[in-house]
Structure formats: C-alpha cells, structure tokens
Amino acid sequence: MPKEKKLMVNAIKDGTVIDHIPAKHLFKVISILGLDKIKTTITFGTNLESDKLGKKAIIKISEVFFEDQDINKIALITQEAQLNIIKNYEVVEKKPVRIPDFVVGIAKCVNPKCITNNENMLTRFTIVDKKDIALKCEYCEKITDKEHIKILKN
C-alpha cells in the first residue's frame, strides 16, 4: 500500500497543490495558469478516483506560489478546485478558488463580430453573474454565458 501511494503523485517540499480539479478540466487549468511555461518541477495526476467528483485531477507545482488574482481565473471553469500552499512538506494554507470580478486575456468573447475576435488584443470581461457564471465583454457589451465560455490558449 505505501508503495502504491507514493507512485501516484509525489509530495513536494515547497509550492502549490491544486486539488479537486474535475479530470476533464485538467488541461484547461494548465492552459489558464500557463503551467506549460513554468520551469520548475510539476507533477500531474488525472482520472484519480474521487468521492466528490467521480474522476479528479491534481497538480503539484514546486516552488511556485500564485497571486490570488491569477489562481482565481480557473474559477471560470471549475469552482470545486482547492488550493493547498505547501511549505517544507506541510500544508500551511488551504483556500478555495474564488470567482474574480474581472478577467483579462482568459476567455473568448462569444460574439463573432466583437473586435476582440478580429484584432490581436486581450479580451476583457466583467463577471456579471457569479452564480451561473456570465461574462460581459468590456468591448461589445455582449454576454458570454457558462455554456459558451471558451478558454483562450496562452
């Protein structure tokens, strides 16, 4: 048993663990947080059994601590995720992700006639509905609802 547990995902000394990510959203989370550009050690596990989520994913990022505003971007696709801050192998802080008021450069506007879909520029949205997740484009003023949120590639 201990051997099997160790093989799953190694513990980290200092850094951030993002747990309880629904497995299907793992790669979106990676993209939103720009983890593909981080130089330190990162380990992933996905399709792990979870009572709450069915299949969950976990990400452990060594020596990286996120600003709240950065980590909260993932709330657009998953509000279940939980953040653990690790210092010297110990969890020193646990925090849930919180939906931000405003997101820049993360999501795509649903309106094909929006300037953001036609110029090389950042998208900007105000989150007008935090419960059901609805984004209002700062440019064309159209609403992108949860069903239509597409995450932009970094």
């Binding site: 309106n111 006639k113 929006c114 300037i115 953001t116 036609n118 110029e119 090389n120 520029m121 484009c137 700062e138 440019y139 064309c140 003023e141 159209k142």
Partner: protein, 307 residues
C-alpha cells in the same frame, strides 16, 4: 468631459447629457461660428454611412474646422490588411479628434484606449451609436419641452435596432412610459424588459398599431429584410407596421413622429406633410447636436455661450 471620448451613451451622466442638450440649442441659434479654426477632425468610416458622415462633416465645416478621412475601408490602408490599432495610432497624429464608424462591435472602445486624441463613436456594428441617441433626445426635448414623464412608442425592429436600445436606456432616466409595437419575431429583448422592471419603469407590448392616441413620441424604425429567413413573412410584417396619415387623426397635439432614417416604407409619404412628422427636422438637429458634442469634447465654448 474635457478630452473624453464618447463611445457609449452610458459614458454620459445625466449632467453630461443636459450640457450637450444645452449646447445644442446654442448651435441651433447660431450654427455658423468659427470656433474650430485650426482644428482637424478625422472621419474614419470603415463602412459607409453617408448620412452620418455628412452630418458630422457639416457640423465641423460650420464650426470652421477641417475634415480629413476616408469614406469606406476599400479606399484606405485597411484594405491592405492594416490593423485597427495601427490605423488609429497613425491617424491620431494627424488630427485633434477622430470620428469613427466600424462594422465590428467594441471597435470604438478599443480605439479610445489606443488613441491620444478623443474618439467619437459614429456606430460600432450593432452595438452603440451615441450621437444618434443624443440627437433623438434633443428632438424630444425640443418638441415636448421636457424629457420627463413622456409616453414613448417604439415601433418596428425592436430586437436588433440599436437606436431603439440606446434611446430606451437613455430615456429610462426620465420616468417615461414605453409602448413597444413590433412583430413577435422582432420584440424588445428580455434583457431590456428586465432592466425596466428592475428600475420600475412601465412598459406595454403590442403586436399591432394601437393606443397611439396616447403617444407623445412615436419613434419609427426600419424593418430589415435580412432579419427574416422567410421572405413572405417579411412582406407581411412590412405592411403591418406602416404608419399612414389617417391613423394620426385622433393623436395628441404634441405628438411628434421620429425616425432615425433612412426610411423605406414604414412611414407612408402622406405623413410627410403632417405637422407631426418630425424626422427631417430631427436630421437637422443631428448637425447641431454633433456641433455640441465636438465642441464639448474639445472643451471649446460656443461664441454665444454666456455660462
């Protein structure tokens, strides 16, 4: 309002709107005053809109300013693939103010973030056209003597009509009653009804021309063919919402008929001679309103302003 762009009617407070309406009256009294001497205004029309462009250019000319620009993007570097950013960054060096019309929604807002000179949005796709709203408001206050407590009928394409949406939002600040007359496919979107419910403004929806004897303002709009997938339905709809002169018999004395123009068939030609028809005067008001907006944004006082 000094050096501030006008992108959306929502950028203007009630005080800002009152100031524009006050200035518009000054320009109506004295339309020719050379207060823009030495100023250059660029009119960048990425899609053609002759009426709007001529109205702006007339306004600048009457104020003694110079106009540069293009009338559609095929005659500019945009057709060579230049980005909006590069066009705006370049043209901002040549002028004191940019008036722009663009087919993409949000383009004017983006331009206002990039430009070192103020931007006036002369229409960004289906989104905003604030100078139209302000000239509509001037036409209302001029003919009714007030913006307060009016019974406003909006007729035609209430679903896609951007002038209707902006006017509704702007007039909501003055305790109106709205009546919406449209085909069921072109009804006012739910988001506007929700907005009116939230702020406690009364409105009624009709599928036929009715109750217009109570109207102070009858705001007519054009129903566009491309809104209907079935051409038969378009033909039927078009004929249902035509305003004819004899329908105006029992209407109020102060009623005025507004239309953003161009008109197709929705206002019959026999209405034109009725003194309640106001749409051509409304177009003239557009020049004064744009003089007011330009002078206000550039922070230049009208000569006859004693304030």
């Amino acid at each position: 309002m000094k050096n501030r762009s006008l992108v959306s009617i929502n950028d203007y407070s009630t005080d800002n709107i009152s100031e524009i309406l006050r200035r518009t009256e000054l320009f109506e009294k004295k339309p020719v005053q050379k207060i823009l001497d030495g100023k250059v205004v660029a009119t960048l029309f990425f899609e053609p809109s002759t009426r709007t462009r001529l109205s702006f250019e007339s306004a600048v000319n009457k104020l003694g300013g110079k106009v540069i620009g293009f009338t559609d993007s095929s005659s500019s570097s945009v057709s060579k693939g230049e980005s909006l950013k590069d066009t705006i960054k370049t043209v901002a060096n040549y002028c004191d103010l940019i008036v722009m019309r663009h087919p993409l929604e949000g383009s004017a807002k983006y331009a206002s973030e990039l430009s070192k000179v103020p931007i006036i949005n002369a229409g960004d796709g289906a989104n905003q056209h604030p100078t139209q709203t302000l000239l509509d408001m001037y036409s209302i206050i001029k003919t009714q003597g007030t913006l307060q407590n009016l019974n406003i009928f909006l007729v035609g394409d209430l679903k896609y009509g951007r002038t209707v949406h902006s006017l509704l939002m702007a007039m909501s600040r003055y305790n109106p009653v709205f009546n919406f007359i449209s085909h069921e496919k072109l009804r006012i979107p739910d988001e506007y009804k929700m907005y009116l419910n939230n702020i406690g403004i009364k409105y009624y929806e009709h599928s036929e021309f009715e109750k217009i004897q109570y109207a102070d303002i009858l705001y007519m709009t054009r129903v566009q063919k491309e809104r209907f997938s079935d051409p038969m339905e378009y033909e039927k709809t078009k004929d249902t919402y035509i305003l004819k002169n004899d329908m105006l018999n029992d209407t109020k004395d102060n009623l005025r008929i507004l239309h953003p123009l161009p008109r197709v068939t929705e206002v019959d030609n026999d209405v034109d001679e009725n003194r309640k028809a106001y749409y051509f005067d409304q177009a003239l008001n557009g020049v004064f309103t744009r003089q007011a907006i330009i002078s206000s944004i550039l922070d230049i006082k009208p000569e006859n302003d004693t304030n």
